[in-house]
Amino acid sequence: MNEFIPVIGLEIHVQLSTKSKMFCSCSTDYIGARPNSHVCPICLGLPGSLPVINERAIMYAVRMALAMRCKVNTHTVFHRKHYFYPDLPKAYQISQYDLPLAVDGHLEVNDDEKAHKIRIQRLHLEEDAGKLVHAAIGGRLMGADYSLVDYNRSGVPLMEIVTQPDITSPKQAREFVSRLRQLVRYLGVSDGDMESGSLRVDANISIMEPGGKWGEKVEVKNMNSLKALERALEYEYERQKEVKSKGETIVRETRHWDDDSGKTVSSRSKEEAEDYRYFPDPDLPSLVVDERTIVQLCKELPELPWEIRDRFISDYGLSLEEAEVLTERRDVALLMDDLVKGGSPVKVASNWIRTEIMRVLNERAISAEEITIPSDEMALLLSRIDRGDLSTTAAKEVFAMMLEKSLNVDDAIKALGLSTGKLTGSDLEAIVVKVLSENAEVVEEIKAGNDKKGKKVKFLQGIVMRETKGQADPKEVQSLIMSKI
């Protein structure tokens, strides 16, 4: 009987990373700033002030639209959307209505190794509202004596992206947002951070009955992470199925996700839909984005994540999984190209980036561009790993030294007291003999046949490798140990 299929559509708001706000020259860099310190008569909605369109915001949105293969409208209009709320200083939001900046695009997600095309219904620009701070425990509205308004966020450019209800599972919804976030970061149009609210997702979810009949849709809000999004939709899917199985009807409403309790809670009924009294903003002449600009922006689009992924698979012979990881971030993908161009063997470069470099980037919270090691030096290091001249352990130390002191490979190796060549033959044999004699009991155990899993040999091998400061080939060490025992 479990044949209800979830039907999910997303509405995503992305704060654009322009320097100034959508309609005034105030800075958008308000995180952590004193309340109401990034404001002017325009974003405060003071009487007599007028909006002027931030052209960079238009450019960013067009870039995003083109990357999603949308049709960009050359004539687009800003409308006023009216409602009263203290965080909205003009009592209307400048947004777009029936002539959005772009329509009809798509974005592909990989779900269970299969590609799914999620259609984009529209992309438009609008202004963000301010923020209310309620003076009660936990900043909640209920029981607050008063509320304060911070207009620093008021007027920050927001790009709204609406999908068609093409998403068929909570996991797929998560994949989609993850892909979209990757894209805004690739294009440099937003930091795409969900926790800080620069990327906000509202989801519409209904369930389709076995006969193909659609249920009432429920809007779910307040998911502050990818995980929360997936959990909220899973919860909502189960809840709706349960309502149906009880023979009850699903109410069309807005529900808030509560991450602590892991539930969605009804917030307001959507039956009496608000009348926003949309009309074209007479302060803003209709915007013309001419064909030439569109063509130019199209030409300037960077190589997109899935394009690089496919190229890595075809040109470098990487697996889909490897290619996905390497292209997750644009800086990392570019580094991969750099290393290969600089002469690094593909496989080593891929492994090295996915392990060591990603670790360093995450630990230091830096971008790959901040790794100042020249790509030919990196290539040299990686080639030595490839040839077995350096063990991975040693290479990590060398890499750290190169980063730390801006040294080249050879100087880093010298600084670490490693010899440049590798330890082999009789030199290595001498160390093996020494280690075996120092660990006679273990050798005896092995001889007695008490090392079926080979753990004891590995133990000895480890000591030898440490003694050689990682400059020996582990395979040679192993065979030497075996031959000596």
Binding site: L46, G48, L50, P89, R277, P282
Partner: protein, 493 residues
């Protein structure tokens, strides 16, 4: 020269006088302020006289004069500014209780321009609340009176600005015109009032009534002053996205004409049959004669759509935009606010008692016509009519360089006369409203005096950015009729 004579001088005469050293800025400002103090008891043309600000600025300017600095084109000229135009640090009320104590933290573009040109803002003018009205009786600060006859209204909504100029408070003033709010009071007060082409003057700092119709413009008693102030305030401004970036001509040059040879003046076909005061009809005929004698070709034009549908079209679009523009006055961030137990009550009480009756009426109409179920039938339909009106004017201007029409259907009416019947009051804007809908420039000027001693105004409409054509025709008329005079309480001076 007696100090009281200063009050009759034009702006450009004042600037000349300073340059020649005939008198100082503080002489003039002091005289003007004293004059204001005495006459405000009757006229109520100003909501906020700026005694202190004007005085200290006059000393500053005198010091600049003494240092021999280069003087701006409106150096030391007293100016009255309508109270819906912001001046940094000065309260800007819009004639409303809603903004009774709101002090603007910034100046409008036009105010910056005036100050750069050396002007001295001596007061904020009375007006109908949020510029909605045609008598200045809808001001929350009491009505302004007509200096020609204190029992009559000065017109509106820029009634305070017009009254200030005719009363000699200042040679020039700024008003705003959404449906006739400069031209109708200019006609009622017998001064020049120009509504520029939509987009010629930046609206930045003009508290919006209807954004697609509003335009700031000057009042003056001479055409030379009109040209001078227009030159100053029409400086392009990137802060208003609807403000044209094109270069402005030298407006004073259009005044050096004596002949209208090769110039076509259009008049409204069948205007005689409309309900218009006979004295106004006579003034139109006389003005046509003046133009004809100056060599102009007189042509007949037809504006049936504008005449018939202009008013309903306007009274759909203007309230729609107003209901949106005035939504921000919600008692939260600034302005009038009533303590309440919850948010909804705060909104209802603050807006319910902060706005006056005419403003509420228009907010209700506007909210109604923008409702999603009515949008197509009202707002969208009105926009289509607006396009037809624009087309109709375009056709008329293929035949004529300027159009001559009445400015108003009646002479200044008595106080209280039109308060009870809003539709009748709206009819007063019959000739001015289509001009705003089409975004055209138009000047209203005194063409004669009535037998009862009241000014009789006419209107000259130009094509888009055709201010020059208007000034040209008006200049020829001024040469016959003479510039505007000052008046105080029916005692003409």
């Amino acid at each position: 020269m007696k100090n009281s004579e200063f009050l009759k001088l034009s702006a450009l005469e004042l600037v000349e006088g300073y340059k020649k050293g005939d008198f100082t800025v503080s002489d003039v400002i002091e005289t003007a302020l004293e004059h204001i103090e005495v006459n405000e008891r009757n006229l109520n043309a100003l909501i906020t006289p700026l005694y202190e600000e004007a005085r200290s600025r006059s000393w500053m300017l005198d010091a600049a004069l003494a240092r021999g600095e280069e003087l701006g084109s409106l150096f030391g000229v007293p100016v009255v500014v309508k109270d819906n135009i912001t001046v940094d640090g000065v309260r800007t009320t819009c004639g409303s209780r809603m903004l009774e104590n709101w002090i603007s933290p910034y100046s409008a573009h036009v105010v910056e321009c005036l100050e750069r040109a050396g002007a001295v803002i001596i007061g904020k003018a009375n007006m109908d609340e949020f510029a909605m009205g045609s008598s200045t009786e809808f001001s929350a600060f009491g009505p302004a009176l007509n200096p020609w006859d204190l029992s009559r209204v000065p017109g509106g909504s820029s009634g305070g600005s017009a009254a200030s100029v005719v009363a000699g408070y200042a040679p020039i003033a700024l008003g705003s015109d959404t449906g006739g709010s400069i031209r109708q009071p200019a006609a009622f007060c017998g001064v020049y009032g120009l509504k520029p082409t939509y987009g010629l003057v930046s609206r930045f700092g003009l508290i919006a009534f209807a954004s697609s119709l509003d335009q700031i413009g000057p009042f003056a008693r001479s055409l030379k002053d009109v040209a001078a102030i227009l030159q100053v305030i029409s400086e392009p401004d990137a802060r208003d996205a609807t403000c044209a970036r094109k270069e402005r001509p030298n407006y004073a040059e259009f005044l050096n004409v004596t002949s209208l040879e090769g110039f076509k003046v259009g008049y409204l076909a069948g205007y005689e049959s409309l309900e218009i005061d006979d004295e106004i009809k006579r003034a139109i005929s006389q003005t046509i004669e003046i133009c004809k004698e100056a060599g102009a070709e007189i042509v007949e034009v037809d504006l049936p759509i504008s005449t018939r549908y202009g008013l309903p079209c306007y009274y759909t679009i203007a309230p729609a935009e107003a209901s949106s523009n005035l939504a921000r006055f919600d008692g939260v961030q600034y302005g009038f606010s009533v303590a309440a137990d919850d948010l909804k009550e705060l909104y209802l009480k603050s807006r319910g008692s902060g706005f006056g009756p005419e403003v509420k009426r228009r907010i209700l109409i506007g909210t109604f016509v923008l409702g999603s179920s009515r949008y197509d039938a009202y707002y969208l339909q009105a926009q289509k009519v607006r396009q037809l009106i624009i087309r109709e004017f375009n056709a008329a201007f293929s035949k004529a360089d300027v159009l001559l029409t009445p400015a108003t259907p009646t002479l200044p009416f008595k106080r209280g006369e039109k308060l009870t019947d809003p539709v009748k009051a709206y009819m007063a804007d019959l000739f001015t409203i289509p001009v705003n809908l089409a975004g055209l420039p138009a000047l209203s000027m005194r063409a004669s005096m009535s037998q009862s001693g009241l000014p009789v105004g006419v209107q000259l409409i130009g094509k888009k950015f055709g201010e020059g054509d208007i000034l040209k025709a008006a200049s020829v008329i001024e040469q016959v009729v003479g510039p505007a005079a000052t008046a105080l309480g029916g005692d003409r001076k």
